[in-house]
């Protein structure tokens, strides 16, 4: 049994009378690739925001790398990397500069900074573009730079909110190859949300399906497919079974417009 790096207990977030995340309980092992699936508005982003200490929970608790998200927020922040759904690097700076600022904010020792940045650019296939303004990057390059920025300090857990939204299939494959390499090289635990079932199917060790703020299912892809019983099922059938037909859900205006804006910026 490997070490638990993320432990969530009854995590709940309410906005007024609306419960966005309802008593979520699950744990993730060190080095695992864990996917959080669900329709728009299912509570995936709210969950990630609580785990990255951006949003205080209304009830419940979570420990990331052994630290409480409510009492030890600064320790949690040191232990994690975060790639938000929206574009989080600055287009008016070069790729190198974007990395340099984060190297300094995460207290990388001065003499290691240059080496670490060079290594990160190389790992992400951006060596030739480090000196260019990010505003001139393609969508796939922006995402790779964001992942480089979020992993410069070698976090134990990397949170990614819809990491491949708005990317073309080739760029998506490249991003996933790099994420899998990150785990292989540094043992980074990956916790991500996605709409793309085929990504979850090919890359996740385990996944959870959220529906209306609650966890509807949890397990490996095979376990979930078997859970429906009676013959072979695809992951889409599993998704429809647990998350409904999704016609009633769909997120609010701000979520949807933010997601489309991101897709437009990256695409």
């Amino acid at each position: 049994m490997s070490e638990i790096v993320l432990e969530i207990k009854n995590l709940t977030r309410r906005f007024g009378v609306f419960t966005a995340v309802d008593a979520l309980t699950l744990s993730v092992n060190s080095g695992e690739i864990f996917g959080l699936l669900g329709s728009n508005g299912a509570g995936k982003t709210t969950t990630i925001k609580m785990l990255t200490t951006l949003l205080p929970p209304s009830a419940g608790e979570a420990r990331v790398a052994g630290f409480s998200i409510t009492n030890q927020a600064v320790n949690v922040r040191r232990a994690i990397g975060y790639v938000p759904q929206a574009v989080s690097v600055d287009g008016s700076l070069t790729g190198y500069e974007n990395l340099l600022i984060f190297a300094k904010l995460y207290d990388l020792p001065h003499r290691e900074q240059q080496g670490r940045i060079r290594e990160a650019l190389k790992f992400m296939g951006l060596t030739a573009d480090g000196g260019r303004l990010v505003g001139q990057y393609s969508g796939g390059m922006v995402r790779r730079l964001e992942i480089a920025q979020a992993t410069l300090h070698r976090p134990r857990v990397l949170f990614l909110d819809e990491p491949t939204v708005g990317l073309d299939p080739i760029a998506r494959d490249t991003v996933w190859k790099l994420l899998v390499d990150l785990r292989a090289n540094f043992g980074t635990t990956l916790f991500f949300t996605t709409h793309y079932l085929e990504e979850a199917e090919s890359h996740c060790d385990r996944m959870a399906i959220m529906h209306l703020g609650k966890m509807a299912a949890l397990g490996t892809c095979k376990e979930l497919e078997a859970s429906l019983g009676g013959g072979a099922h695809t992951l889409s059938e599993v998704f429809v079974h647990y998350a409904g037909t999704a016609l009633d859900a769909g997120g609010n205006f701000r979520d949807v417009s933010a997601e489309r804006a991101t897709a437009q910026r990256l695409g």
Binding site: L54, V74, I80, V83, P84, S88, S92, I101, Y106, R265
Partner: protein, 264 residues
């Protein structure tokens, strides 16, 4: 024991300057902003200043009207640019930049103060313009290094103060449309209820009271003291500095409390 006391403070300042560096590096790639900042003070000094100076309508004691308003226009131009600083933060929120910074271990107050300082340093371009124009218009400027240093310091502090105020508004209203509305509503009252273009002596009593609560008044008073050769401070530069420092500190504190709201 002192080490444990000094460490958090130096770490805080270090992070503040990293944020300032982040903001200022953008200028290296695109410095047009520094030029557009120059336009407004030029108009005020060359047109408004010249006309009012000829009319002789304002009684500004022993100093000519143009000399009187030169520091006022500098303060005004710092205010007008800084008060819209918050729009950048809203833009960074609509992207994911604010969220990424907030998920890093950087102290919130360093995020806020670092941005404020960068606005302060950007305002130095307006100082250069106002000094250049003043020289052209024959304003009697005090060129002693100590006086110049004080002017630079006050400009940086004033821009930090008003840009932090702007950031607080951005954290509260969160959208560009509402922010622009609030910004417009605030600038003119702050400007007119100050001693920037007329002395407080000629104000009606109620306005005088308001002007004494307005930090811009103390910024103008301090600038006037150090920029001109023969001007005396109304409040004393000690009080001016105290008001500016204290207001900035309080605003940074409030800003640090409100900044995480942008990630929600």
């Amino acid at each position: 024991m002192t080490a444990t006391f000094i460490h958090p403070l130096t770490a805080f300042l270090e992070k503040t300057f990293v944020i300032t560096e982040f903001e200022l590096r953008k200028l290296r790639h695109d410095f047009t902003e520094l030029i557009t900042r120059a336009l407004q003070p030029a108009l005020w000094l060359l047109i408004f200043g010249q006309v009012f100076s000829r009319s002789g309508a304002m009684h500004t004691g022993n100093i000519p009207y143009l000399d009187f308003i030169a520091p006022g226009i500098l303060a005004q131009s710092v205010l007008f640019v800084a008060i819209f600083y918050g729009i950048n933060v809203i833009w960074e929120r609509d992207l994911g930049i604010v969220q990424k910074f907030l998920a890093s271990p950087t102290p919130r107050a360093a995020l806020v103060l670092g941005k404020g300082f960068s606005a302060g340093i950007r305002s130095l371009s307006q100082t250069a313009i106002v000094y250049g124009l003043s020289l052209l218009l024959g304003v009697k400027l005090n060129w002693s290094p100590l006086a110049l240093l004080n002017v630079l310091l006050i400009v940086v502090l004033a821009a930090t103060l008003f840009s932090t105020f702007s950031l607080i508004i951005a954290c509260i209203v969160k959208t560009r449309e509402r922010f622009m509305g609030v910004g417009q509503v605030l600038t003119m009252p702050l400007f007119f209820a100050s001693n920037a273009i007329y002395p407080t002596d000629i104000m009606p009593g109620w306005l005088k009271v308001i002007s004494h609560l307005n930090p811009l008044t103390y910024v103008v008073d301090a600038l006037r003291t150090f920029m001109l050769t023969d001007s005396t401070s109304t409040f004393g530069s000690g009080l001016d500095y105290a008001v500016i420092f204290l207001t900035t500190t309080i605003l940074v504190f409030i800003g640090a409390r409100l900044y995480p709201r942008l990630a929600v």
